[in-house]
Amino acid sequence: MHKKLMYICLMYSNELIKGTLKTIVLSLLVKKGRMYGYEITQHVKEETDGKIQLTEGALYPLLHRLEADGLLETEKENIGKRVRKYYRLTENGNNQATSLAAEFHEFSQTMNRLLNNFSLKPSYNV
């Protein structure tokens, strides 16, 4: 129950999103340069028409982990009375983002082919 709500998404199952979260965040940063946490959640929501909604519970742990792994670096800016942390890719992170995106692309193609074959099967019976 808890885990399910960690990644609120309106269309896709939790298992599906979980493995791709890192890919989503890194790819987004490749495109946008630097982003802060809230911006990432909003952007994903808009780009996917609300089909994927990242939650804080999923996003921030991931961001911190990626930073610790040296894939991201942060810069802080004062916004009024609070600090805003922008995340950007390191060189290492950039490489990782590219390879993750390529991997996912290939994976989805393979899945497509596989599932298309399955969906053709019933047609023999018709």
């Binding site: 802060y36 009024g80 009375k81 609070r82």
Partner: protein, 433 residues
């Protein structure tokens, strides 16, 4: 675009902290996130309160706490090998310590090896790994807490090991380990909990309870055994020592005996042993207690604070370099053996075996400690606390004195029998009958 005022930001910050977000970095992230979300919703016409509520709802049932939990888990994931190493060392040391303790209780051989290995892998592999992991997973302002916990636990483990193995320095190590735990780790731990806790009074009171428990353990360690038993043992020791005083004056009896060369040299031997033992006892007490020889001579065992420590007694009795002024235990044993030979020579050969059996100091017997064969000196004196060592020495003195008295009485009675034909009144009367 609406912007939250200072108070509103402070309120949200307090809310986040209240839910246990101790990590500064994460706090900053979440604060900005919540504020931005609220501002955006307020732009759409919502009130601050409604927007706040709506934003918090998005955190899900686990709330903020779960965000932090999740972060910790992701940040601190050990790699698979590290996990295996840490797990196997933790398991191994637990099994070794458990087996060692059982062996020790059952007096089976090999207990010492198991305990040393178990405590060693706990203190030198598992705890460092744990420290490394803790330092990595928590913010840097908590590192003092983790380091103090590590040092305290390591010292305590080593102290317990030394204590079980009767190695010198156990008490100091154990005390400093527990001292660090009580003075640094526990306060820091509960201070951290207190800062972030929702119910401060409960945290405060559990912290106090933890401190009290540690202090109680301290207290129990220094008491060690019940005061009644303690007093009883001290009395026995003092009693043994004072029994020897009864032998101070055997002059009268010696006057009645024939002053044969053998008897004179036996008497000299006894007085040598008595002098050496008294000197040894006084030195042991003086060094253990850190007082002068004069004071040590007069003090009664129940007033000696260090009566339960064995470090110095074992050092004095067994370490050759310190025994310039006093005999070590083997030299004393040698003197007692010579006395026994001389003493037996005073009896006719048909009595010697029986008398020898009666002499209570049996240096040739074999003794066992936990299944290990040890000699007489180790059995009676090695790692024996001061009170035991002094009592043993007193009882040796007493045994020698008793044997001396018996020789003396025997000699007198023998000479009375042999003299009787040549003029002893009672004897001649008996003869005339």
């Amino acid at each position: 675009m609406s912007e939250l005022n200072e108070q509103q930001v402070a309120l949200i910050s307090a809310y986040i902290k209240q839910y246990g977000i101790a990590q500064n970095e994460l706090h900053d992230d979440l604060l900005d996130h919540v504020c931005t979300s609220i501002e955006n919703q307020m732009d759409e016409g919502k009130s601050f309160e409604a927007a706040f509520e709506q934003t918090i709802k998005l955190f899900g049932p686990g709330g903020l706490k779960q965000v932090q939990q999740q972060t910790f888990e992701l940040l601190t994931e050990m790699n698979e090998n590290m996990k295996k190493v840490a797990f196997s060392f933790g398991l191994t040391s637990t099994i070794l310590l458990l087996a060692g303790t059982i062996f020790k209780l059952m007096h089976w051989p090999g207990a010492a090896v198991l305990i040393v290995l178990g405590a060693g892998s706990l203190a030198f592999v598992y705890l460092p790994l744990l420290l490394w992991h803790k330092l990595k997973e928590s913010p840097s302002d908590e590192s003092l807490m983790h380091i103090s916990g590590f040092v305290g636990l390591t010292l305590t483990t080593i102290g317990v090991l030394f204590k079980i193995m009767h190695w010198p320095g156990a008490s100091v190590t154990l005390m400093s380990g527990m001292g660090i735990l009580a003075a640094l780790y526990v306060p820091l731990f509960y201070f951290k909990k207190y800062k972030t806790s929702a119910n401060k009074s409960i945290t405060l009171s559990t912290g106090l309870v933890a401190m009290t428990c540690l202090i109680l353990v301290f207290g129990l360690m220094s008491v060690r055994s019940s005061s009644e038993m303690n007093r009883g043992l001290a009395l026995v020791s003092d009693q043994l020592a004072s029994s020897n005083a009864n032998f101070q004056n055997l002059d009268e009896l010696y006057n009645q005996a024939d002053e044969s060369d053998k008897l004179v040299s036996l008497r000299k031997r006894v007085s040598q042993i008595v002098t050496e033992i008294e000197k040894l006892k006084t030195t042991l007490i003086a060094q253990s207690e850190g007082i002068s020889l004069d004071q040590a001579q007069k003090i009664e065992m129940r007033f000696v604070n260090s009566r339960w420590s064995f470090d110095i007694p074992t050092h004095v009795l067994f370490d050759k370099s310190t025994t310039d002024e006093v005999l070590n235990i083997y030299e004393l044993g040698e003197l007692v053996s010579q006395f026994e030979i001389q003493m037996l020579e005073m009896y006719p050969s048909n009595m010697q075996k029986a008398i020898s059996n009666l002499f209570p100091i049996k240096q040739d017997s074999t003794y066992e400690i936990d299944g290990e064969k040890v000699d007489w000196a180790i059995y009676h004196f090695h790692h024996v606390p001061l009170i035991g060592v002094v009592s043993e020495l007193s009882s040796i003195e007493l045994a020698v004195r008793n044997a001396e008295l018996q020789v003396l009485l025997y000699t007198i009675s023998q000479s009375a029998v042999s003299e009787s034909p040549s003029g002893d009144q009672g004897a001649s009367e008996a003869q005339s009958l």
